[in-house]
Each structure stands twice: as structure tokens, then as C-alpha cells.
Symmetry: C2
């Protein structure tokens, strides 16, 4: 029963599966209603949309596709509740909309086809990460959520892959939860970083949901809650005799390291979080080694990114692993990915109508496409050919897009373990030629457009004249 | 019943209230267990932590506090489920931890005191946005989630306030859902932007949850799903005769504007999303006015930020409202806020032990603090004085922190309508002197530290020598 004065409540502002249907921009819903009202199209008219990135962000030689699983979770459980529809009916813009539209929303299911490049794949501009074929209204609705989840995870995975390249064989751990754009973003960032090669996370909720390794050390507050640093160290070591990694920079780093070393060889590691990490790592290594703690590792953290890690390793800093936070989970140097979702073909009855946008500077290549990946005989990545779907790819090439949903039903390929995505990314990085693997001054993305796609494009350009 | 082979499922990776307890870094949990094992402290020993920002990000004259409501929602409903505890017990780090710790977690409630600066307040470095006093273990656990939600919303509100200053009297609408760091981040960004003065959002789920205005136009895909632009315009106008704002840049903007104008004076607006927005706005205004559509508005969008809006208005572009997306919802020029959560005092029995961190470059001011805000007789903001809590503030000043939770129970001040936060931010912006209101080349933050705080700091520094 609702009283006239409901008690006040706090809004946690979390996104649940119940919120999926309205997790979109208003115009998607108004366009849906307008599409439904059309009488000029066959009842089975469809639209094909592709999700892609027009240009690489500066400082990225490639992207790492990520976020598909969450996109498919959304597509397969998207429903309009009675409350959703009731809310929409309160909006002035829908005041004159046919009530049949709202009844139709109550029965709405996404029943389209989805093809996608699997997560963990290295991808390049103009390559469709996701291709959706569905009735216009269905395909339109889902644009916003698909972009939000795939833009976000692809952004972070692409940054994390650079950290992976910089760290080489050394592990790096995601420490970013507190600086991600809210805890929901932290979950996505942890997943994306794991796919791209992170070796664990400090984020417990993410580790539990994703079944990945969770790691941690100790914080300044723990140290400062004791009168003396050595007492704090002892207490933590007593609690976790085999798992103690101590933060040694609360007061004086060298002195802290000596106090930590006094715990003896069971000390698993020390963490440096401030100051000249390279110099301090060398001094701490010497302190530890002198006392026979040769197995005790050194963890470095503190605003690390791929460039700082590269510089530390280049100077031979004896750092065994890295904690990486803010820079990675916000992709700080490039904090947004401009993925778009564009109409590339319509069908109207038996007619297939490729669609092309010709606005200056923003060409959208027409027609449903496939991406063919070419490797040389040594297994090195050579080039991608973007071609019309159905046209052949170059000999020996491999098609990247594969079916994951048909008529709204998930196919087996939709259920992929994270380990497979992670292995795919590692293979992709290993296959990169040197000129694409460099963190800076790398070569242009080696993509070209296939002959059938170019012929269609030329014919549409000709027709537009 | 669980079979030996569970069917595969997709992980939506959404944060629910059930996930709150593990929405933290692992080290918070290991430190909790280690705190609990301590015998050197009185059973009622407490810790006071303050959440603050050490330095303003470059390009920010002030911050706008936001995210407290979600932080309090978290604190008041944080519980460890049986599954949470079972998961923690699987972690090797806890293999030797006293089982009593896990039983204690099952009964865990946050029972601390919280004081905070209300949302929408303009704030400056070193000012505690949130102050928490609780048993050490409780205060430690909540650091990560509090930082994540308050860093994120304060970051976006601070950026959106700059857009508000740039747009002046013109409305601006949040269009950013697709480029936020996932849809969860989009919800937070919409809320933060609204507090800072946005006039609405395109994000339907956020609008419904927050009860704020939702707005939309139409997209290129709608236009391109018709053979002819004019047919698309007509169809949309027929569907929404009083609410039609048409995107006119799909093919040729001027021609698009003429076709839109042909719908007559009931056309509510046209939207420009590419090209030279100032020049196109002038030409479109002329086209509309010539045809008597003087009430039809011009909406501009497309990678807008506060600087582009300033430049457009400075050149007199006849733009009536702005759609602002990527730049605002990612705070693209400064995509992370370095809020920290630092121990400032412990109590042990009757003893109060102020805590101060003296590491080079990272001073943490000791003791629980209050912020006193001073205005001049004309109501202009003059300065803030950061002082020990309990010490008096300057005459005529107002204390910013207020109690919102005591012993884990929410106080009435915790339930504040968004409208009050929004009004507070508008008042704060209006009270800014010119040298702080400027978007660039602004003055330093006018804060100083009060005499009692300085005396305590000096005495602790002296003791440390």
C-alpha cells in the first residue's frame, strides 16, 4: 500500500537487468514509434547496422574488441515492464502516439541476427565489431546500450593491451576501482583489462563475478593506525604469514624496507607507491638481498602507465610486478572511444538497399561487411581486408565476424569463456609485426577495402551524382 | 538444483545492491581481518577518515561535490551474504584467518558517523567532502566504493558546471550515454550533470530514476531509412506534430533545413551535428526566419564542450540550445579525479590521536576538520577556512559539513531532493567572483587553514623531529 507521503528513500542509481529497456536515448524510442507507423515498408523490412570506430584514437596502433558478452546479455533479456511503459506514457512527446505502440512494447523481444568479432581480437578502423540485422525498430532501440558497453570495454582493453606490451613478462594487476567512472565502470574495466592480459585485480566483486585472480597488499591507513611502522608490519605478517606484501613508503621508504625485511624470508613482497620508483626499487632490492630475502618481490604502483613502466624496465629497475590503476581504468590519455552504430543496408520485401552516408569527412561504407585477416607464413599479421559479406576474402585469410545470435536466440559461439578471449588477445599481440607493436611512432593500420565493397561504393557514389 | 553441468550463461556484469559488500579492494578485507585480530586497541577504538582532493585538476577553478546520496545508499544497505563469505573463504590469503572473522562479516553493518558537504556545493582542495568516524575495520572497508562514486560524480559535475557557465542562459542537454564508461557510468554522469545545471538528458533510464526531464530529436538512421529526406521529415512530423526537432545534416545541411522548414511553423526545431556550427546556424536561422518559422529553434551538437560553446556564443551564433555528450560525460580533458580517503584521527579509549602523513609532497592535514565558507556583504564568495572540527570559524561564515548519518542511521539531511542540490550549485556559481568564474586563467582557490589546525599541525611536526 502506498501512503500519500512515501517515506524518503535514497536512490542507489544502479543499472539492473530490469532497466535494460529504458537504458537508451529517448530518440531511439520516438524513432521506433515512427518506424512502426510507416506504411511505405513491407512488414518484414529489415535494417542492418554495423558498430565500428571511424578512426583510431591518437596513441593507439590497434584496438582490442571487448564488451560483446554484456551486449548479448542485454539483447537476450531486454524487456519492457509495465512500469517502463507507464513511464513512457507520461512523456509529453508520446501524448498522441498510437496506444498500439505501447502494447507492442510489452511484447517486445529482440529477435534480430547478430554477427560479431570475438572479444580479445585486435581490430582496426572501419571494421564492424558487431553487425545487427533486425526489423528497423528493434535495431534502432539497442544502439545506445550496445555502444555504451562496447565503447567502454574496447577503450579500456585497448589501453590495457599497451600496458601488457610494456610490462612484457612481468605481471601487472588492476588497482583502478576507486578511480573508474563509478563502480559499474570498474567492473567493466577489470574485465577488459583481464582480456587484454592483466594478471589479476584488486576488485573483489569483479573477481568473484568473473572468476579471475584477486590480489592485494596493504594501505597507508593500516600502517598509520599503529604507533610504530614495525608494529604494523608485524601485525599484518602475523595475520597473513605467507601472503604479506607490505607498503613501505608511509614514512621513509628505505627505513620501511629495512623494517619489512626484518620479518625474514617469509615476507612475500614490498610495495613502493611514491617517489623515484626505479631508484627506490634498486635500493630496496639491495636491502632485501643483503638480508637473504632474495625471493621477496618488489611491487610498484602509483599513477603507472605503459610509458612509465617502459621507462622503469629500460633502466633495469628490479620491479617484479606492477599495480596499475587510474591511467588504465580511465584510459586517461584517450578517455573516450568514438564507436558508432550506422545503418548500412535496408531490405524492403525482396529488395536489398545498401545505404551509404556521404557527408563530408564522415563516409560510411555501404552494405553488410566481413573482415578477412591475413597472416604471413611465419604467422605474423599482415593486413585486414574489409569486404562485402558474401564476397570471397584473400586466399588463406580468416573471417573475423561470426554468428552469435539468430532470430534473437543465442548461438553456441555467444558463450565463450574469458580465458579464450584472453588467449586470443595474447595471440594477437604476439602476431603483431614490430611496426605495430611499438607504443609510439607505430605504422598505420594495415587495412584495405575489398574489390566488391569498392565497386558497390563507386556505384552508389555515381548514382548520387 | 544444480546439475553437474550448468548451462552456460552470459554475465551481464552489472553492480547490484547485493554486490555492495564485495565492491571493494581485496586489501580492505585483509586489513579488516588484521584490525580485528589486534589486541593493542580498546574495543571501542575508532578511526576518522576524510575524503578529499589534494589538488585541483588542471583546468578546474573549483569542483562540484556530488555522489553523496549513492555513497549513503551503499553505507546503509551494505551486507555480506552467505555467498560473499563463502567466496572469501575460498581465497588462499584467508586460509589461516580466524573463522570468527567470517561469522562477524555475516553480522556486519556499517554503524559509523558520517558528516558531509551537501551535493552541489562548490568545493576546493583539502576540503573534506565526506568525513567518517567508525571502528577502524568498518571505515576501512568502505573506502573503495565511496571513492568510486564520489570521484566519478564530482568529476562530471565539475566539468558540467563549466558547460553551464559557458552556455549562460541557453539550455544544454546531456547526450552522452553512448560514450560514458558503460551505462552505469552514464547514469552517474546524467545525475552529476543535472546537479551542475544541465537542463535535461536523452538517457531515459536515468530520467525515470531521477525524475528529471528527458529530451530527444531524431538520428541519421531514421532519415536514411527513407528514400528521400523530405519523406523522413514528414513521417517524423506526422508522428510528433508538436515535438519535432529534425536533424538536418544527413545530406546537405542548408537543403535539409529548407526541407524541414517546409513543414511549417509547427516545427519545433532543427539540429545541427556537423560542419561549421556557427556559420550553419546563421544560415539556417535565415532560412527559417524567411519562411516565418521564427519560433523554430536551432539545437547544436557534435563533440561540444565549454570552449566550443563559448566560441559559438561569442561569435553570436543563433543557437538556442546545446546537446553535450562525450566531452562532458567523460570529462575528457581531465578524465580522472584523484580523491583520496585518509586517516586523520584515531581514538583509543579516551585518547584522541590525530594522524598526520608527512611523506614528501603528500602532506595530509591532521584531525577531523570543518570547512567554513565566507561571503562578502554582496553575497560574493570570498574564501574558505579549513579548521579543526569544534574550533570556531570566522565571523559570519557558514559550516559546510553537516551530519548525515549517526551510528549507521541516516539523518534527515541525508534525504535531499535533487532540486535542492541543483539550486545549491546554481547559487554557488552565481556567487563566484569573476576571477574564479573564468573558464581559463582563473585565480587560485581562495582557501586557508585555520589557527587551531595550523597549531596542531605544527605541534605534530615538532614532535616528529
Amino acid at each position: 500500500m502506498t501512503t500519500s507521503h512515501d517515506p524518503p528513500r535514497l536512490e542507489p542509481l544502479l543499472l539492473g537487468e530490469d532497466d535494460y529497456a529504458l537504458a537508451t536515448d529517448l530518440y531511439q524510442l520516438t524513432m521506433m514509434a515512427a518506424y512502426r507507423a510507416r506504411t511505405d515498408l513491407a512488414p518484414d523490412a529489415t535494417a542492418t547496422f554495423e558498430l565500428f570506430v571511424r578512426r583510431l584514437p591518437r596513441g593507439r596502433a590497434f584496438l582490442v574488441a571487448a564488451g560483446l558478452e554484456q551486449a548479448l546479455a542485454y539483447l537476450s533479456s531486454l524487456r519492457f515492464s509495465g512500469a517502463d511503459v507507464a513511464y513512457l506514457r507520461t512523456l509529453p512527446v508520446f501524448a498522441k502516439t498510437d496506444p498500439g505502440f505501447f502494447e507492442w512494447l510489452r511484447d517486445f523481444r529482440f529477435r534480430g541476427d547478430v554477427d560479431a568479432i570475438p572479444e580479445g581480437t585486435l581490430v582496426y578502423p572501419n571494421e564492424p565489431l558487431v553487425r545487427i540485422r533486425a526489423p528497423l525498430a528493434e535495431a534502432q532501440l539497442v544502439e545506445t546500450y550496445l555502444l555504451a558497453t562496447i565503447n567502454a570495454q574496447t577503450l579500456i582493453a585497448s589501453k590495457a593491451a599497451r600496458v601488457r606490451l610494456a610490462a612484457g613478462e612481468r605481471p601487472f594487476i588492476d588497482f583502478g576501482a576507486r578511480r573508474a567512472h563509478g563502480f559499474g565502470a570498474a567492473l567493466l574495466a577489470t574485465r577488459a583489462a583481464w582480456i587484454a592480459g592483466a594478471n589479476g585485480t584488486s576488485n573483489v566483486a569483479a573477481a568473484k563475478k568473473l572468476d579471475i585472480p584477486v590480489r592485494g597488499t596493504a594501505a597507508h591507513a593500516f600502517i598509520m593506525s599503529f604507533e610504530r611502522e614495525e608494529d604494523a608490519f608485524r601485525a599484518y605478517h602475523d595475520a597473513y604469514p605467507e601472503h604479506t606484501v607490505l607498503l613501505v613508503d608511509t614514512y621513509d621508504t628505505r627505513e620501511g624496507c629495512r623494517r619489512a625485511a626484518a620479518l625474514g624470508p617469509s615476507l612475500r613482497g614490498v610495495r613502493l607507491d611514491s617517489g623515484d620508483l626505479g631508484q627506490l626499487a634498486r635500493e630496496c632490492r639491495a636491502i632485501l638481498d643483503e638480508r637473504g630475502l632474495t625471493q621477496t618481490t618488489i611491487v610498484a604502483s602509483g599513477d603507472l602507465d605503459e610509458d612509465k613502466i617502459t621507462a622503469l624496465l629500460a633502466q633495469g629497475a628490479p620491479i617484479d610486478s606492477f599495480g596499475v590503476g587510474t591511467e588504465m581504468v580511465t584510459s586517461r590519455d584517450q578517455p573516450a572511444l568514438g564507436g558508432v552504430f550506422k545503418l548500412v543496408e535496408r531490405t524492403d520485401g525482396a529488395r536489398r538497399l545498401p545505404v551509404m552516408k556521404l557527408s563530408e569527412g564522415k563516409i560510411t561504407w555501404p552494405g553488410p561487411k566481413q573482415v578477412w585477416r591475413v597472416h604471413d607464413p611465419e604467422g605474423r599479421f599482415t593486413e585486414d581486408v574489409i569486404e562485402l559479406d558474401g564476397a570471397p576474402g584473400p586466399q588463406g585469410s580468416r573471417a573475423l565476424l561470426r554468428p552469435v545470435m539468430r532470430a534473437g536466440a543465442l548461438l553456441p559461439a555467444a558463450y565463450e569463456p574469458l580465458a579464450a578471449m584472453r588467449a586470443r588477445c595474447a595471440e594477437g599481440l604476439a602476431a603483431l609485426p614490430e611496426e605495430l607493436r611499438r607504443l609510439h611512432d607505430f605504422a598505420d593500420a594495415p587495412i584495405r577495402f575489398g574489390p566488391a565493397l569498392r565497386a558497390l561504393t563507386d556505384s552508389l557514389k555515381g548514382a548520387a551524382k
